[in-house]
Symmetry: C2
Subunit: 464 residues, 2 copies
């Protein structure tokens, strides 16, 4: 299929989006005004109710469904009338947001949408409330352009725990497989890179986040008293950690790499076609160089996303203030995140980690599983992926970057593998969005482009 | 020399101490009411001035001398009249105290001396203001019993930085060697053990306290972004630390043990004669057992004080809160204290540590020296040590425990080696003193015994 740059339906869609921008910004302001911080259980149920209300106002049948955690908003609409497609498009989104803290770094109140110089500021405006409104605006425009009918069935699943790792999404999807059945899925994010090129992400690494903790005594001791004769929790932890990975970045847990699928030739071609981020990253983080001294661009891109990791995210033990305290710590702990590549799984890693620690005499090191999810990627040749990329090029005027997999993680596995859906990114994000940070924002021009792109995907999807 | 249990002079001394108890408690209240927290530079110069004033009121020539840190109070008095000895006794003490925090755990205001059930409570009352008053009370009693004359020359050196590691004491003593010249020294602490037996400590381990820190980037990164390609400060630190000591407690820094002097036969005999603390320690800290599985009592005592150590006192990096944050830390640091045995020195350890880190590729690990001091011990057969032990037995009615060296550290090296003095412990402490902790206290009965003991040492010292 080769699409023409435009056609009368798309022109009508675009006009509807542009003419109704003020209305959608008001809807977005309404949504952003409702805090929904999952990490703090702040406004969660109120926001779930508001999202359901807003979906109903747009003509969807919506319900707030219980999960093993925070409620999930489900909504649906079925196309009606002649010529409608019986295909179903599923939108995965989330209504929860990151904490707004530190509040003093915001230039305007985080839960009050504020416009400044073409940007709209609010907590969650890009991640992910702007995407919720983007989907609604696109659907309304398509419906209007097509005589008041949606061209296909539409389902929404909007969760409230994405920012805390979507711990209940796999089980929820498993449980509601029939209800969620669809033919394709548009993911919760998307947008452009530093050069304004649309970005496509076909997969995400999995994650297994654990805390390793040791307690060697009931209370800390004076280091002069215990130094030679008391076990030291900090030392136990350091020794245990040092057995997990060597200085060549090789993870030493037996069997850790057993299920690692190397990148395909096609994956490597996609990586090669992507712009290099090396210089940007070096400058942004003031790095002398990259791990293992990698300098070749393709090798670096491959290492960045096709290697599983073992990252120490945090270390805590004993005295951490200024100067000295001669204390022998009774407790020590480390936060460790493993990023997983296809076909590793968090359950497998936990069990291999436990066996490894035990085999090395670290039965005293406790593992707390803080959550995780499996890696998953989509076939780059799936027609839905092709459609998304082609429409992106027409809307943005630039060929999309297509990443076979990205370094981050999210609950795409149950959508790709349990529901069997092709899954694409499309949306309103850009590198300056400051998601998770103070002054989170969305550029109005990218909101319009992302919405037009989403609308084209919907309109064309129904035809196929 | 075998001393008789008592004599008319001692009886007069004891009577003077008992009759003037109220006066000395008032003096102690006056001293404790003046905060002097060296870690917070809170009331330091005011307290130095007060101590000098109180010494002058007792007839000493006192001056507040500058050091490279907080001022040092120096005072002296020379014996007068017939029969006086020309020998000089030096008292080392300190006027600074630990922070009073956490304030909410005190049952009475920390800078207001309060009596409850035979105990006096205040910050610094045992460590070390009670000892300052104990020395003054003993000297006044001896002077009174000897017709208004001190039987020997007396010097005081009372510093204000003991609680922050006495960083300037070695240089101060070196600089003022002539002024501080003496024949023997009574140290700032002393007292009884759990069984009310007087305790003698003939030496202290040295210390070398460092912070090891690594910075691998200007800011933390998302672990999904950087996990495979960014250096991780926490990993660098863990790897560096793991090269310092193996799981058999062997310190792996080349040359670390070169200057270690093993305990003498005499040292081992003294350790063997000391009561076992193993059961107490196990219970107090809820330990399963001791390092290296040591169970033999003499072996454990020897390990506790004659082994140098490498203790991780603290670890800090990245995220340390509840749950998860997927962060790749740009910075990591560890507080590490080495306890040193004769004849190691902190300077030697720092230089061997730097060479070891460099040789293992850890040039990126920065060492910050937070202070230290050399180990030192006194000849157990020195007549002054013998005198102290014999008078202790007569005062307390129990043979003293004599430790050839203790696990803790203090600035005894310049007094033993620069000034060449025998140095003994004698004083008002007991295991329930709660020094450095809330509700620091001193038992009134132990104040009287410690003061009587100090007075006997002074009186007898002059005769020898």
């Amino acid at each position: 299929m080769t699409l023409q740059p435009t056609n009368p339906v798309w022109e009508k869609i675009d006009a509807h989006i542009e003419e109704n921008t003020d209305y959608w910004i008001e809807e977005l302001a309404r949504l952003c005004a409702q805090p929904s911080v999952s990490a703090q259980n702040f406004g969660i149920t109120e926001c779930a109710d508001l999202v359901a209300t807003m979906l109903r106002e747009q003509g969807f049948r919506a319900e707030v469904m219980p999960s093993d955690g925070y409620p999930v908003v489900y909504a649906e609409a079925f196309g009606e009338g002649d010529g409608r497609s019986d295909k179903t498009l599923l939108f995965y989104l989330h209504y929860d947001v990151q904490p707004a803290e530190p509040l003093e770094l915001w230039d305007s109140p985080p839960f009050e949408l504020t416009e400044r110089e073409g940007k709209l500021y609010a907590r969650g405006i890009s991640d992910d409330k702007g995407h919720i409104i983007c989907r609604l605006a696109a659907l309304a425009a398509v419906k209007d352009a097509m005589g008041g009918e949606l061209p296909c069935n539409v389902k929404f699943i909007i969760e409230g725990e994405e920012e805390i790792g979507s711990p209940n999404m796999p089980a929820f999807v498993e449980k509601h497989q029939e209800k969620l059945a669809a033919d394709a899925c548009i993911w919760e994010f998307g947008g452009v890179d530093h050069d304004g090129r649309p970005s496509q992400a076909l997969g995400m690494r999995g994650i297994c986040y654990v805390e390793l903790s040791v307690q060697t005594a009931s209370i800390d001791a004076h280091s002069g008293l215990g130094g030679s004769i008391f076990p030291n929790a900090a030392w136990r932890l350091v020794w245990a950690l040092s057995t997990l990975k060597d200085q060549n970045e090789r993870i030493l847990i037996p069997g850790f790499y057993d299920n690692v699928q190397p990148p395909s030739q096609r994956d490597l071609e996609m990586l090669a076609a992507m712009p290099s981020e090396a210089a940007n990253l070096k400058q942004m983080f003031a790095l002398d160089g990259f791990l293992l001294g990698t300098t070749d661009d393709l090798a670096l891109k491959t290492q960045a996303v096709f290697q599983p990791t073992c990252t120490i995210c945090g270390l805590t033990s004993g005295y951490q203030g200024a100067g000295t305290k001669t204390v022998l710590p009774a407790k020590a702990s480390a936060k460790v995140d493993f990023r997983l590549v296809p076909n590793q799984s968090p359950q497998e890693i936990i069990s291999k980690l436990r066996a490894h620690l035990d085999a090395n005499g670290f039965t005293d090191v406790e593992i707390t599983f803080h959550g995780g999810g499996r890696p998953a990627k989509v076939d780059p040749d799936d027609p839905f992926v092709q459609l998304t990329n082609e429409t992106a090029e027409l809307v943005y005027g630039k060929q999309p970057n297509v990443a076979p997999i990205i370094g981050g993680s999210g609950p795409n596995y149950p959508f790709i593998h349990t529901l069997g859906l092709p899954l694409v990114a499309a949306g309103v994000g850009y590198p300056g969005s400051q998601v998770h940070a103070p002054n989170e924002n969305m550029r109005l021009d990218y909101f319009l482009l992302g919405t037009k792109h989403t609308a084209r995907i919907i309109e064309q999807f129904a035809k196929k």
